[in-house]
Amino acid sequence: MPRITIDQREIDVPAGSTILDAAESLGIEIPTLCFARQCEPSTSCLVCLVKLLPSGRLVPACATLTADGMQVESETEEVHALRRNTLELLLSDHLGDCVAPCSFGCPAQMNIPQMLRQIGAGQLREALITVKADIALPAVLGRICPAPCEKVCRRGNLDSSIAICELKRIVADVDLASAEPYLPPCRPASGKRAAIVGGGPAGLAAAYYLAQEGHACTIFDDSDTLGGMFGREIPAEKLPRDVLEREIAQILRLGIETQLNTRIGRDVSLAELRDQSDVVVIAVGWTAAQQVPPWGVGVSGGGIAVKRRTYETNLSGVFAVGNALRGQGTTGIRSVADAKEATVAIDQYLRGQPVTGTSPPFTTRIGKMDREELVQLSIETAAAPRCASISGVDASAAAQQAARCLHCDCRALTTCRLRKYSALYSADPRRFKAERRKYEQDIRHADILFEPGKCIDCGLCVQITAAGGEYFGLTYIGRGFDVRIGVPLGHSAAEAFHQVAAECVAACPTAAIAWKKNTPTCASFAICGDEMPATPASLPGR
């Protein structure tokens, strides 16, 4: 039984064990992409490299057998840097968007493609849940949002963009008109109190998300109504007041208290608020923000100064969001997005955890696609043109419009191991600049979408199809940098997978082989799934 050390921890392993096996029994997670228990190690991805001492040789952990006295380094800055580099090289030749351009264009990073698919499937309730995971006031914003998402919608380069904003509005209107509008579940009461100063979009959104985390919220506003600038400055024909009121009422139903006609600095001081509550969230808008310096809150450029990602002001337990930070030009969607992001940091603060806030979800990006590529991408989508506007709540028209979506987002968003480890190791997809490949997809199989650009040439599917008795299966085609995995002799994916399609999908470390129907099941990629840590806290920084 060989005895080896990994990162100075000793372990006896059965003869014939690999370094990867040994690490596993020590609870050390060495990343792997091309490794699967049922296959021969192909040692192709090299993200499992470890360092042997004293020789300094780098070897793949997945295929290197342990030998008595072997000394291995795995979790060191040097080895991590190497793994990061390897991941960055893979990313430089990985053609896919983890997160769709529309989601990235949305300040709240709403999972738009998922909403569209749900609308397309007639699941308006599910679509609403998707929307409200990121946008607290969709009926309102569905009417007034400048829709940056639509400006970057890839379909816009083919014919015209998806009517995202309008569809969101319909989803929200249907919900508000229903007998029982959606109320999100809330975590058990935390016993913590949050004072939210300002009842405009940012304050409302902050209350909405903090309440879901189980914190008791009170909104303070100096006027007699909630809604802030939405109610004051937007003409009623654009934003009917009953829509605003109903959407606010729905938020308050989470048990949020309000204290109207109360001005901070006149009726109650910030110090008093801080005493009464565990946390204060300043969401007073631009005009009032000018009055905060006497409260002791730091400003910069006229707005309240906060830390990036966490929205912390200079005062402990005091956060700020919305127009109060940026000025009047800020859109409603940005304010709502601020509140959602700040909630992560505030919740961390309230629970006594390190306050790191949230960072944008990890994604690779294809960038601009040419017409030929767009045509390919659109083959299985609705050919309908964008309609000028959909009146009222016509669900079938909405479904038809939603079906125009190109499904730019990745089908393996939550299962992709390349994404998981890239995020974990803080890999930068743009570290190595390169000309990208041409986008291709093979849709000829009824259930499987084959996107060779996403393939990292791990070879698992080649082994699985060969062992599984597929006549054609998959093979390496070409050599070197140009090697691609494909179906031999010019055949299509339809002929590649008869017996082992499911095994291939399960083994594929990316979404090169994916179920067409497969869609990420999380509500929001920024906070989806425990397995996708947004910040690699356990890892040394770059």
């Binding site: 192909s42 190497l82 299966g473 390496y476 002799l489």
Partner: protein, 782 residues
């Protein structure tokens, strides 16, 4: 495709077998029949054999030999070896593409006559730049000669090429006329010289036999003809013989017999002179003497061990080999030594593998011997693929019996009863000679079931590679022999433990085997006395590039780089300045001129940032750009990467991207640091030797020529090589002859008779034609 065409496939499968390992030979046969691989033929193979569609597609797209599209009537292979690169193969390629109006993914001209393909190295480095049209090689090309070469080829094709003529039967004492017929010599016309000599002898009835000998090594002097008078006596050596000189040279020794023959000969001779308008005295012009200073300098420091008797023996003549101590070493090993003693002798000699890594040969054999197994293999690695190296080709072509002898000794030592020569398909003559030699040995019972009439049984065969540099890596080579894509695997286990078909296997290089017989004939100590403390014996190098006397040389280890370049090579040609020597090809590095006193041994070269490698040595002068050299090698390795592991597949590509940027003047701040960092990562983490050594050319040039990289970042190429950073200008020496304007393929030079010409840099393609054709050297690069 009609069914009768597929009958060929059926026959081929019957002939070559139904098992997976037959895939490469089957594909080679199909391609030589159809000239490409029709899909229907491959589908048919899959239906008839164990070969799966995945295998056939994977294998046929891995090796560059295989073509999936129909090709033109003739294939032009443009050599992009190192020597050709430094002598302008890119320009030749551009000129060909321009001439045939192809490029941008189209490789065949519109009439389907010529298909142009790039090849890694044709191994004719001393003739650089070289192209091969079908089997005819053209050397010393340049961009403006491309058109005439194609014309000449087509003309010869119509009129028929001269074929070999048999010498007349002779009686009495006969002389011998030796003609070097290595691939390089043939490329420079030694085939035609040979034919002319045969024809002359037939016409005159002279008492001489023509003998083909292997490579003499003096590639700068080819074609070489040596006359040995009947009954012995001092021989005469003639260099750079042209076909038209050959008759006079023969006749200087052998007077025509009989009056009529003499007369007709005189008439023909007179007629020749009348037509050619010159007074040729080829006998005096072409004669050289081994006592001549340059010849002496070239041959002097050399020590022929692997190349013993070079230029003297007929490569395929068994009897001649036997007369020159052939098979003595083997007989000694079989009759006097136990396998353990054989290994011990090899250990004592200090022999290290000549394939590049320098692993002790005795230790490798001992490991194979020690691994239990009923079946063991010996492999001869003849997949020499380094651009700029052709030692193994020359050895295989010139000394087939010696290599076979070394291999049989190895087989005896390790306990193998089967051996395979893996030779790259680009070396048809080498393949032919080894096959011929094996057949002759078997016919005489010297090889096979009873080697030299002992109980020792050994069967040797030849497998042709299919165009993959990476198959020089032993695990990739074995994969290729098993009919798979040549993808290296992680070692250990080493082939000594688990090699071909999982059996213990000894894989050794051609030159390693070629040294073995000498060691046993002269004793291990004699070998160990040559060389340095850790690097024993001699090493064969292919000396090429910007050197006066290029060729194939064998020198004792420990000689300095300077001795090789200056003494043997005669220094840098054309009055330029010696800048560096690239040693070890794509896995090696550049030794700069200031380190020319570096000893040529494994350790010293590695320390200098190069490697011994397989033995390519390309001399560079001040007009060679070191960034371009690094990029050249990176392109090569990147192109030859099997594509398996991330660091090599994508890492080398990204290194190349950075170098491309730098060479185009688009380099960015931080690029050098990124390049260096990436080089170290790729070198440290790649799975096999190809990836691990691929960054060497970059690292060594960064180490010695960093300033040149920085100049590129600032938009200058000091050597005047990188197309995007240079301009062509005309100085006052221009006499207005209009030649450049006539030859310019891009119409970038307006015709201005009797006035100084100007070049429009917007239109200029930097093809260099104007500079080459200018009679007054008025065109210069800025």
């Amino acid at each position: 495709m009609n069914p009768s065409d597929l009958e060929f496939v059926d026959e081929t499968v019957e002939r070559l077998g139904h098992r997976t390992e037959a895939v490469i030979p089957i594909l080679q046969a199909i391609q030589s029949h159809f000239r490409y691989l029709p899909r229907e033929a491959m589908e048919r193979v899959c239906r008839l054999t164990d070969i799966t569609p995945a295998t056939i597609e994977g294998v046929s797209t891995f090796y560059t030999q295989f073509r999936h599209r129909p090709v033109g009537q003739h294939i032009i292979s443009v050599c992009h070896g190192t020597a050709c690169h430094v002598k302008g193969s890119e320009l030749v390629q551009d000129a060909l593409e321009r001439h045939l109006r192809i490029g941008h993914g189209i490789d065949t001209d519109s009439k389907g006559v010529f298909t142009v393909e790039k090849v890694a190295c044709l191994g004719c480095c001393t003739l650089a730049p070289v192209i091969q049209i079908d089997n005819v090689t053209y050397g010393h090309l340049n961009s403006h000669r491309v058109g005439e070469v194609l014309e000449a080829f087509l003309a010869e094709d119509r009129e028929g090429r001269p074929s070999g003529l048999a010498a007349a039967a002779l009686e009495g004492p006969v002389g011998e006329i030796r003609v070097g017929l290595g691939s390089c010599c043939v490329a420079l016309g030694s085939g035609k010289v040979h034919d002319t000599i045969c024809r002359t002898l037939a016409a005159t009835g002279a008492a001489a036999v023509v003998k083909q000998v292997g490579c003499v090594g003096m590639c700068h002097q080819t074609p070489l003809v040596e006359l040995i008078p009947p009954g012995g006596g001092p021989s005469k050596l003639f260099a750079r013989v042209r076909a038209e000189d050959a008759r006079a040279i023969v006749l200087s020794q052998y007077k025509p017999k009989g009056l009529w023959r003499r007369l007709s000969h005189r008439a023909a001779g007179w007629f020749d002179r009348f037509l050619s308008d010159e007074t040729p005295d080829p006998v005096a012009d072409r004669a050289i003497d081994v006592r001549d200073r340059p010849v002496c300098a070239f041959l002097g420091p050399q020590q022929h061990v692997a190349t013993e008797y070079c230029g003297q023996i007929d490569p395929t003549d068994v009897d001649e080999y036997l007369r020159h101590d052939g098979l003595k070493a083997l007989r000694h090993c079989l009759e006097k030594l136990s396998p353990e003693q054989i290994i011990e002798h090899v250990r004592e000699s200090g022999l290290r593998g000549r394939g590049g890594a320098g692993f002790p040969t005795g230790q490798k054999w001992a490991a194979v011997r020690a691994t239990p197994g009923d079946k063991k293999y010996v492999i001869c690695n003849g997949d020499e693929g380094d651009p700029g190296a052709f030692m193994d080709r020359m050895l295989l072509e010139s000394f087939p019996y010696r290599i076979i002898e070394g291999m049989v000794i190895a087989a005896k030592a390790v306990g193998a009863d089967e051996g395979i020569f893996y030779i790259r398909a680009e070396y048809p003559l080498a393949v032919k000679r080894i096959r011929e030699a094996l057949r002759r040995l078997e016919d005489r019972g010297l090889l096979g079931d009873r080697v030299l009439s002992t109980d020792f049984r050994l069967h040797l065969s030849v497998k042709e590679g299919a165009g993959a540099f990476v198959c020089g890596e032993e695990t990739a080579l074995l994969a290729s022999l098993e009919g798979r894509r040549g993808m290296p695997r992680l070692r250990p286990p080493y082939p000594a433990e688990s090699g071909l078909w999982g059996q213990p296997t000894s894989v050794n290089n051609v030159e390693t085997y070629a040294l073995v017989p000498w060691i046993f004939r002269n004793g291990p100590q004699a070998f160990a006395r040559l060389g340095t403390e850790k690097s024993k014996g001699t090493k064969v190098f292919a000396l090429a590039g910007k050197v006066v006397r290029g060729g194939l040389i064998e020198v004792p280890m420990g000689i300095t780089v300077r001795q090789i370049v200056e003494d043997i090579g005669g220094g840098v040609a054309g009055g330029r300045t010696f800048k560096a020597v690239q040693i070890g090809g794509p896995s090696g590095g550049c030794v700069p001129a200031e380190l020319a006193d570096t000893s040529v041994d494994y350790e010293a070269l590695t320390q200098a940032g190069a490697i011994m490698g397989s033995g390519g040595m390309v001399v560079l002068d001040d007009r060679d750009c070191m960034v371009d050299m690094a990029r050249y090698f990176l392109r090569f390795t990147q192109d030859q990467s099997c594509g398996k592991c991330t660091l090599c597949r994508i890492g080398t590509r990204r290194m190349r991207d950075i170098l491309d940027r730098i060479c185009c003047g688009k380099g960015q701040k931080g690029d050098l640091e990124l390049l260096e960092h990436l080089s170290r990562t790729v070198g440290a983490g790649s799975i096999c030797g190809l990836g691990r050594t691929a960054p060497n050319p970059v690292l060594s040039t960064l180490r010695y020529f960093r300033a040149e990289y920085e100049a590129h970042l600032a938009g200058r190429c000091p050597a005047g090589k990188c197309k995007d950073l240079i301009a062509y200008r005309v100085n006052e020496a221009c006499i207005g002859c209009t030649l450049c304007a006539q030859k310019c393929p891009a119409d970038a030079i307006p015709m201005t008779p009797y006035a100084r010409h100007t070049i429009d840099m917007q239109k200029c393609t930097r093809c260099d034609t104007c500079r080459q054709v200018c009679p007054t050297q008025a065109v210069y690069v800025e």
